[in-house]
Symmetry: C2
């Protein structure tokens, strides 16, 4: 191929990726695709035809007329394309088949004890779960890739779990292990659970279209992510966003990470259980009981959530002054307890954030609930195809 | 002009800007310019000729041979181009003439009382200072623009000081006032003092070439800035980087901003003076005395700085876990007291930052000292010409 031909091929692949990403976000008419991409309608028609041929999108000719001229066909993803999304959390492991339109087709979540599990056992269990999920859906699906969300510090470039105290892992080459388990048939991506939760909320949840976002999620630990001008904050080595380990109470309690008074020690699951008089080892089930008691008006439970909201607000005030975000999304159990947490959160923001930054920000609950990390993990699984829809990985 | 001609003109202006920005950063040979810009040597020669004609750069033909072929002339900025840089701090106002190569040609700094000063008085005083600085330099300089650094929350887009507690201002349209005072002869930019300090450290100081940086500067207040992947963090409305008002000690002292236990209450000037038994109203002079006592081995002064370093480290641990920076730059009096602060800062980082983020970061003193904000302000003054070297503003 000539140099000019190679450049043309490169541009075409880049345009295919752009169009597929658009349609992946939500169905679009050809006219809309032309408008948002700046490509001509002839070019869009050709690109869409290629994507249809590759089985990635389909067109619906029954589109309504939205203006003068011929009706513009609606292009949407072919939902028989799926990613296998995996979540390795403190209390459970889950596997889902997620369609290219972001909907969960099937999910299996099984509890796991918080004792240390060998990596091999977990990978083996996941493989079994994935096989049964896929078998339940029949054979007509095309798997594009695998995404894994891990409750721990992850190096997404190296594909390693650096440390996951709630799982009991340290320096685990998880991407390679998963890849081997599936005999390298699909691309595998791994990332931090909260980073993926934020990604999902930004693409399909409470933060769609927002560019400056703080996401904080209460699970067994406290994780989060930050979107800066539309781009996830990564830092120099991909470890940014460890919100749970910002010191907010330097003389406070000891954190699992070894430090003292991390945000997690004041707003994590253990803090809520402690304040509500529950067994600290009760885990997620005990936390659900606290939420139920609060819904029933139990004063101790309500006070525990109020105090947790207060510390949530203290930490958020710092992030709001530092980052000047437009939106704070509370995920995990913070979303479920939102109505009980919100008043104290806003009081602390009012008291501690500068008026210039306070005035710019809204606090909302996450929209995707407990499945946010899985939906984000699916995006990792789709990434290879989204980046190069008809590239070598598809042949 | 045809559409194609307009596009060509646009590309040429963009290339002129690229070349001037490179040379503004540091002198380059034509070969280096060709390498870093990807433009041909013929194109570089033509662009440089235009910039020479505009009086912005000059070429030195005595360049040494650095490889085979003809020696490549060194292109450097014409240092008769200056910006007028202004700093409005708590204790002083300063005006400097800063050459296009970043060097300060002349500076005049006068103390001001911390009592409220009317904006008009300050602008009037600045105008007088600027006239005398320029007169002292003779008439052969070409002023490209004016940049103003303000110790307060600034909206750089609107050109307004939102609030500056240490100066006693609230909602001041400072850019327009300065612009009127100079009869709109030059473009005027204003920004937060610490944001400009960071900009200067990144362009000409301790953080040259770094992409993930936290800058924190101890002045009367505590300000700072964050560089994320090479871009200053702005937030949704330009107010990001208010590091001084991150809560680090929620039950701590009352802050000037109205909140409690902001970082500034533990590491600001007032905290150092309090801990060292100095008069809190002593201002910068009293702080200098503490540094002198510390240099002489005075135990109370050393303890005061150690405790300040400890709180500096507590807050930095949070920023390191959140942002995963490669470099932390301590500016203002933190730079002057660096040797006394550093041990406690590093101890707290070791204790509180996660190993993944701790391992990635180095802590260094700022390189530009007290003039960092002025050098950054000059960059604001140069911006119009750097963005469009021979554009309408130059005609």
């Amino acid at each position: 191929m000539t140099a000019a031909g190679m450049r043309g091929e490169h541009v075409r692949r880049s345009n295919l990726s752009t169009v597929l990403r658009q349609v992946h976000a939500s169905p679009r008419t050809r006219s809309q695709l032309s408008e948002t991409t700046g490509l001509t309608r002839t070019a869009i028609a050709s690109l869409v035809a290629t994507l249809v041929e590759a089985g990635l999108v389909r067109e619906d000719d029954s589109a309504e007329r939205s203006g003068p001229g011929r009706p513009s066909p609606v292009v949407s993803v072919n939902t028989t394309n799926v990613a296998i999304a995996v979540e390795i959390a403190a209390d459970s492991v889950a596997v889902a088949a997620v369609s290219l339109d972001g909907s969960i087709l099937a999910i299996d979540r099984v509890p796991r004890s918080r004792q240390r599990s060998s990596v091999e056992d977990v990978v083996h269990a996941l493989h079994g779960l994935a096989s049964s999920v896929m078998a339940g859906l029949g054979g007509s699906l095309d798997v594009l890739g695998i995404g894994v969300a891990v409750a721990g510090v992850v190096d997404p470039v190296a594909g390693r779990v650096v440390v996951a105290p709630n799982i009991g892992w340290r320096d685990v080459p998880l991407r390679d292990l998963v890849s081997e388990a599936v005999e390298h048939r699909w691309p595998v991506g791994i990332a931090n659970e909260a980073d993926l939760g934020m990604l999902a909320e930004c693409e399909r949840g409470a933060a769609v279209g927002r560019r400056h976002v703080v996401y904080i999620s209460g699970e067994a630990g406290v994780g989060g992510g930050v979107l800066v001008d539309g781009v996830p904050l990564r830092g120099i080595a991909g470890f940014a966003g460890e919100l749970g380990h910002i010191p907010v109470h330097p003389d406070g309690g000891r954190c699992r990470c070894g430090a003292q008074g991390c945000w997690e020690t004041e707003v994590g699951e253990a803090a809520v259980l402690r304040r509500s008089g529950s067994r600290r080892s009760g885990g997620r089930r005990a936390l659900d009981a606290v939420l139920t008691r609060a819904a029933d008006g139990d004063a101790v439970a309500l006070d525990a959530l109020h105090e947790t909201g207060r510390w949530l607000g203290v930490g958020l005030a710092g992030l709001v002054n530092l980052l000047n975000p437009e939106l704070v999304v509370l995920g995990g159990f913070f979303a479920e307890a939102f109505e009980h947490l919100q008043p104290a959160v806003l009081d602390e923001l009012d008291a501690r954030a500068l008026s210039a930054t306070r005035g710019a920000v809204t606090v909302v609950p996450a929209a995707l609930g407990i499945d946010a990390a899985l939906i984000g993990a699916a995006e990792l699984g789709f990434e290879t195809v989204l980046a190069d829809p008809v590239g070598s990985a598809r042949r």
